[in-house]
Amino acid sequence: MTVDWKFAWSILPELLSGLLVTLKASLVGFAIAAVLGLVFALARRSRSKWVSAPVGGLVEFVRSTPLLVQLFFFFYVLPQYGLRFPAFLVGTFALGLHYSTYTSEVYRAGIDAIAKEQWEASTALNFSMTRTWVGVILPQAIPPMLPALGNYLIGMFKESAQLAAITVVELLQTGKIIGSHTFRYLEPITLVGILFFALSYLSALALRQLEVRIERQHR
């Protein structure tokens, strides 16, 4: 018995619909990570220790524990407080929260890289705090961060497979379900791997192009 191409072809539509769920989870999760990461980075820079210390502790804690355990935690513990959400939502939030601790480091490095004179100039021009951030600091800080953020987007795409553990029928779970129904694992799980690989590799190549373009612009 070797690869059954006809079978592989027949399960492709089902796998592609699983891939769609994977894509949705990683994009929504990334949006959460992008916003929450910025909030964490700004809060950690706060001059008040009553803000920066707990946020710093939270970020370190989330970073130091596995995503899978966080998924289980939210999936099983939230309903005990009467908070019932669909598994997809819980999974996407946990994914976004986990990666926001990584993106917050990206933001932090990017903000630290802005020259001191930019801050001084904003003060000299009597800009408000909001205007300094929105008009001066972030527009300069964010473009050089894009490649690093993109890498985390690809990472989230791959790691979203862990949502399978909390019953989300994404790409990997779809492959597993097909396997358990047909008793054939070779084609579904291999195809799952190929689909993950193809998309993440192509996006990594695209990202390298973007990196080159950004570097050229900012020289």
Binding site: E60, P66, K158, L186, I189, A204
Partner: protein, 248 residues
Amino acid sequence: MHNREQSGSRTASLVWAAIIFLALGISLGVSWAGKRPLDLLPTMLRGVVVTVKLTIGAALLSFLVAVLAGIARASKVWLIRTVSAFYIEFFRGTSALVQMFWIFFVLPLPPFRITLTPLQAGIMALGLNVGAYGAEVVRGAILAIPRSQIEATIALNMPPGLRMRKVILPQAMIRILPPFGNLLIELLKATALVSLITLSDVTFQALSLRQTMGRTKEIFTLLLAIYFLLAYPLTLGVRWLERQRRWA
């Protein structure tokens, strides 16, 4: 500026830690008489042993694979370079979980017919996955060695094997240590995935405790705390290593 912030934040962090500790205790219903939630610890610790074993096993495998593939990636021979590039890109292009499922579900079937125990499958998947990331670190470190070092070994008429062992690798190792420390932390966290292929690590123990006892809040809070206690010393160690290097 950094120092002032650090010393000033200590009081605030301590107060916050105390508040969180108290709140956690109240919400979990900690009781000394019933020994809650410490009565769960013996079972969890049996899982910790598996998690640590798995981390060490996979770390050794990934180190070996990373050094071999990293050297091969910098090789002058096209075939060696390409094979190792395939390995690296493939294992970095999919997640450890997908690789683990493939090894666990597909390898035992024809045409492969290789049956591994869950522990072997876990070590293999995690070791090969992290090894691929490590190989890129090794390659980067080898390429970062100044050209003059290699020229000096040529001038001394050193054979390539000796050059690699005595000149290139010892210098590359110093650069490799902090990123490898970070990979070790990622590896430790990734070991939780083996609970999905029936290996009784600490996450698996927590899941089965939940099924038999309920007490979901306590079990998962304890589980998170255990992972934090395992991983955070590693984080502090890596930061220490990074500081050493900056001074060196």
